[in-house]
Amino acid sequence: MRAWLALVLMLGWPISSVAASDFATVVEGRSLAFPADTGAHPDFRTEWWYITGWLTDETGSERGFQVTFFRVGTGIGADNPSRFAPRQLILAHAAIADPAAGALIHAERIERALDPVAGAAVGRTRAWIGDWELVLEEEGTQYRTRIRSDAFDLDLALAPPGPPLLNGREGFSQKTPDPSNASYYYSRPQLAVDGRIRIERADLKVSGHAWLDHEWSSEIMPAEARGWDWIGINLHDGGSLMAFRMRTDDGSPLWAAATLQEGTAPARILVPEQVRLLPRRRWQSPRTGAEYPVEWTLEIEGRTLRLEPLMDDQELDGRRSTGVVYWEGAVRVYDDEREIGRGYLEMTGYAQRPDNL
């Protein structure tokens, strides 16, 4: 679910000039079919493929990484025969969390869908902007992503161990008490990562585990939502945990949900009452002044877990480009003092409005 607000913030504009009725609606009961549903769904307003994960290089240094491709339907130019008609926009965001750097290294691109320059293909995952891409290879056995920027490159193969994991009710993921605020949402946890990254001049061979979210919908978040907190954790026992909560302006939870798969047991969908996320320690960004709860207590079905970040400063400061500020970073999960998993935490809506900065 996650990038809802991030997307809105990232674009820097409310997508309100278009009525949601111009797009297909998310309804419960539509069964997802693979691999067709790994591709794009241009009839829906927004869609993203969101990869996060941990990488270890040959010296044992650990880093977090994030690669995201967004597709946004604008509702503009539907009947314009121009190849430049901005019916769909493609956005991409990539970042590396390197404790040696102390802060995120990130890059982004935005483009109107214009074959062959940028686009999101239907039928099988393929989203690209120029030489940035995310592809599900033909056999369906692995994803490839390539990112090239001034500060860093990523070239990774990501192999899923099993079929997609459907979130919510068979992939219908409700976001608020109102079921019309919903999306189609599946995850691919425990992706085995293999590839290379370049940071500055260092070209590194890396491996690790990652998480892919693919989500699409049309209905905008309700006005009372201020932001959310989301986690996607690969558990060391081979299982996975996805949890999110939506916050209102006063910080109280509006909605929460989780998908938990323990070991090889079947995944269980948790209802709002079974999921609690409680902030523990806060960190204030020296750049934006925003205060983020970087350590969390997680109460899942009565179990109490602890979330600790790879490093405090994983704030994505896009004020100079997209105007978006949020925290997206690598975290460890502890059960008492035992690390039981690693994943990513996303926190939005903590920064001041970019206009006021």
């Binding site: 809105v8 409310p14 997508i15 314009n80």
Partner: protein, 857 residues
């Protein structure tokens, strides 16, 4: 004062510099000449520097950080090229643009609209980024209430949203939320002002909208006019253009932003150089005048100098003192000129804008600035003119033997100029040879040098011409005639001194008169040939967004009173050898007479297997070195088509070159059936006004323009005359200066010849006869000057017409001698010279004869 190298410098300063004050009129004239030369030259430079700077700034602004630009013909190129370029590994960022001159119906104005890709333009040309005005109300389901008052940046993608630069908003009087109508063909489209282009700066009048919206609105689906490129870092610049060029279809090319900018500055350069040369000529005339006055001063002050020398002043000091006089004239004249130049520039900017009326810099609003280097350079030129004019007189004075100088009647020696036919001949031969040389970088440097050499030759020829002319005069005649003849034959130097200014100004005036007259005549003739129809109709200027579609043409052709229509389509092409785009004119040729051919035929043999014909302008023939019968490949519709040059025509409208092809050929190659201009032949008894009313009713009043060829011709000739008005004014000044020169010369001569006149009075010559003698001498001197000036002017006109014009503008004209005008001008000069001398000499003649003679004893 070190200049005089002496202790009693104050005294010397008095001797030299103060003498300028005593000769007020002569000094004032010299100052005027130098000041005018400096003022005109500097003003031309200031105006053009400012205009070019603003133009350059605009170009840089509009090309941003682009390393290279893909450009094609005016109508653009297929936008499929964009993806190929954008994905090329050497390209870091590519930004597609569609530029349109949108005609604004009912406003009689066009607006430069850039269709951009919002996300791409930010990477290459951030100054074109549109900024939406804060959306008025956002009461709907904004996802985050605190963001509701943020501008809706999707607004920039809306197909009807247009963003205005501050200058455009002011000019059009439009605010965010207003609607503006743009013309497309004969229709109108409505756009909404959604915000501004704050990065465009104050001087640029432009608008920005989404590229897809622009393609759709202006009916240009699938077309781009430009792609701006930023190259990937670490890519070797040299090899990239070649790699990229292989991607480009014929007629589409890759330029650096500097090259694109130089396309504009290149066209205006010839015009600039010519104006600068006119200013240089004014400066030269000033130098001549300084020479005249200083020479006379030296003659008059001969005894004074001899006396100073006898008192111990050395040669060098004397010369330096005189040169200082000249330099002072130069400095003062230069300073006055500089002040005048800035005043003129300010006046020009407020009255006619930065293009000096030539139309090169439209859409640019330059600001006057102080240019210290340029100013100093022109000040130095003024000083140079003063010093150079004094050089010979100073040398003459310094070489004088004091003992002889102290003797009375020695002045005559100074006028002992020997005829210098040899030197004159060498100057003329050199001038002739220089005319054979090609231009340097499009500027006919050698041509201008030849003009200068002819002037030098003319001046050198004066003594010889004077002696010769006096020999031709009848030996008999009245006493006064014989006296004058004897005087001039014996002292031709007097004619040199008095006549130099006359020769120079007459030569220049005559040459310009001949050139302008020839040009105007040829232009008139050209217009008659180019405008054979009875009425012209267009939807907009050919570069703008209006056009006539086949249906509109058919409707106009069907109107009562219209006998025939002749559609013309204008396009621009880029061919490899010429950097600037050339004009392509597609129109029916073979069944009309409307081409002013200088070679070839309108009706070429047409057989199977022959390439389609083309008629190229002189400029294009020059640049591509083509003649009748040669093949010429033109990229039309993104493919190369071989044409056969069957004719060369004269074109005063398009310096960059033009090719005419048959409209049918163009339509077959491109499928483009639009028409820019429609020439209408009316039925024998049809009333043009009625037809115009009918056309307005058919096509709509706001979207069409019509003109009668007579009116158009009148307008063009009016512009022509206005352009040359500045020239005429400068010539009038030069001629006046020349005349004043004669006046002061004879005034000085008269006072130095008081003894001679005293003796003549003693011998019984009445005072009025002496006046007549002076007048006659002046008239004869002026006649020689005018005669030499006429010949030199004719020669210069020939160089202007045959060398300088073809080399700078690539056009020819038929030489035309305005005999009547020249006759009146020459006679007037002679009469005025006589009058000036008579008036100037009056003072000398008024003196008592006894006193005048006694003075010598």
């Amino acid at each position: 004062m070190g200049l005089l190298g002496s202790d009693n410098s104050a005294a010397l300063r008095h001797v030299f510099l103060a003498s300028l004050r005593r000769r007020r009129l002569a000094t004032a004239l010299s100052l005027l000449a130098i000041a005018l030369g400096v003022a005109l030259g500097l003003a031309v430079q200031l105006i053009h520097t400012a205009a070019l700077d603003e133009l350059d700034r605009g170009m840089r602004l509009l090309s941003g950080e682009a390393d290279l630009q893909v450009v094609g013909p005016r109508s653009g190129f297929d936008d499929a090229l964009y993806a190929r370029i954008a994905l090329h590994p050497a390209v870091a960022a590519a930004s597609p643009l569609l530029e349109i001159q949108a005609r604004l119906p009912g406003r009689d104005e066009t607006l430069r609209v850039f269709g951009i890709d919002l996300f791409r333009v930010a990477q290459v040309t951030p100054s074109l980024l549109p900024v939406a005005e804060t959306a008025e109300t956002k009461t709907d389901d904004a996802p985050e209430s605190s963001d509701a008052d943020r501008p809706d940046r999707l607004a920039a993608l809306q197909p009807d949203a247009v963003f205005l630069s501050p200058a455009a908003a002011t000019r059009l009087g439009l605010d965010a939320g207003d609607e503006v109508a743009v013309q497309v063909g004969l229709g109108e489209a409505r756009l909404r002002v959604a915000g501004s282009v704050p990065g465009a700066g104050v001087g640029q009048v432009l608008a920005v909208m989404d590229i897809a919206g622009a393609q759709e609105t202006f009916d240009r689906i699938g077309r781009l006019t430009r792609i701006d490129l930023r190259l990937a870092p670490g890519i070797e610049r040299g090899s990239v253009p070649k790699q990229l060029r292989t991607l480009l279809p014929p007629g589409v090319t890759l330029l650096t932003p500097e090259e694109t900018a130089s396309e504009v500055t290149g066209v205006s350069r010839a015009y600039r150089v010519n104006l600068t040369m006119l200013a240089a000529i004014a400066l030269l005339t000033g130098g001549f005048l300084v020479f005249s006055t200083q020479w006379l001063a030296v003659v008059r002050r001969r005894r004074e100098f001899a006396f100073l020398r006898a008192l111990g002043l050395d040669r060098g000091s004397l010369r330096r003192g005189l040169l200082a006089e000249g330099a002072l004239l130069g400095v003062v004249g230069g300073v006055i000129g500089v002040i005048l130049a800035y005043l003129l520039t300010a006046l020009a900017f407020s009255l006619i804008g930065g293009d000096l009326g030539a139309g090169f810099f439209r859409g640019v609003a330059p600001q006057m600035r102080v240019e210290p280097l340029l100013t100093l350079a022109y000040l130095a030129l003024g000083v140079l003119a003063g010093v150079a004019g004094t050089w010979l007189p100073a040398r003459e004075a310094a070489q004088m033997v004091p003992a002889r100088g102290l003797r009375a009647g020695d002045e005559a020696e100074v006028y002992q100029a020997r005829p210098r036919w040899g030197a004159a001949l060498i100057a003329l031969i050199l001038a002739a040879l220089l005319c054979l040389l090609p231009p340097v970088g499009g500027v006919p440097v050698s041509g201008y040098l030849a003009v200068a050499l002819i002037l030098v030759g003319a001046v050198l020829a004066i003594p010889g011409a004077t002696v010769g002319a006096m020999r031709l005069l009848p030996a008999r005649g009245s006493l006064v005639t014989r006296l004058a003849r004897a005087r001039l034959a014996a002292a031709p130097g007097q004619a040199v001194v008095a006549g130099v200014g006359v020769v120079a100004s007459v030569a220049l005036a005559v040459s310009m008169a001949i050139m302008v007259d020839s040009f105007r005549d040829s232009l008139d003739d050209w217009l008659t040939r180019m405008l054979p129809a009875d009425l012209y109709l267009r939807a907009s200027d050919s570069g703008a967004s209006g056009y006539l579609d086949p249906d509109a043409v058919a409707r106009v052709a069907a109107l009562p009173g219209v006998a025939a229509v002749r559609p013309v389509r204008f396009e621009s092409l880029r061919i490899g050898e010429v950097r600037e785009a050339i004009a392509l004119i597609a129109r029916p040729v073979q069944d009309t007479s409307g081409l002013p051919l200088v070679a070839g035929t309108l009706d070429p043999p047409d057989g199977p297997g022959t390439d389609p014909p083309t008629w190229i302008s002189e400029a294009l023939a020059d640049r591509l070195d083509l003649g009748v019968g040669d093949p010429l490949a033109l990229p039309i519709g993104e493919q190369l088509q071989i044409f056969r040059v069957v004719g060369i025509w004269r074109d005063y409208a398009r310096q960059q070159g033009a090719a005419v092809i048959e409209l049918a050929t163009f339509r077959a190659l491109t499928g483009d059936r639009r028409t820019n201009d429609l020439g209408l032949t009316l039925a024998p008894k049809a009333d043009p006004v009625q037809v115009m009313t009918a056309i307005r009713a058919t096509l709509g009043d706001r979207v069409s323009e019509m003109i009668l060829p007579g009116e158009l011709r009148g307008m063009i000739l009016q512009v022509f005359d206005r352009t040359f008005l500045a020239t005429y004014l400068m010539l009038a000044v030069a001629v006046t200066i020349g005349l004043f020169g004669i006046g002061t010369t004879f005034a000085a001569l008269a006072s130095s010849r008081r003894k001679e006149f005293g003796i003549l009075r003693h011998l019984g010559l009445p005072r009025c006869r002496i006046g007549a003698l002076l007048a006659l001498e002046a008239a004869l001197t002026a006649a020689v000057g005018v005669g030499v000036g006429l010949v030199a002017g004719g020669a210069i006109a020939l160089i202007l017409i045959e060398v300088i014009n073809p080399q700078s503008f690539h056009w020819s004209m038929d030489m035309q001698l305005p005999f009547g005008l020249l006759l009146v001008f020459g006679s007037a000069m002679i009469l005025l010279a006589a009058l000036a001398a008579r008036l100037a000499g009056r003072q000398a003649m008024r003196q008592d004869a006894v006193l005048a003679v006694r003075e010598d004893w």
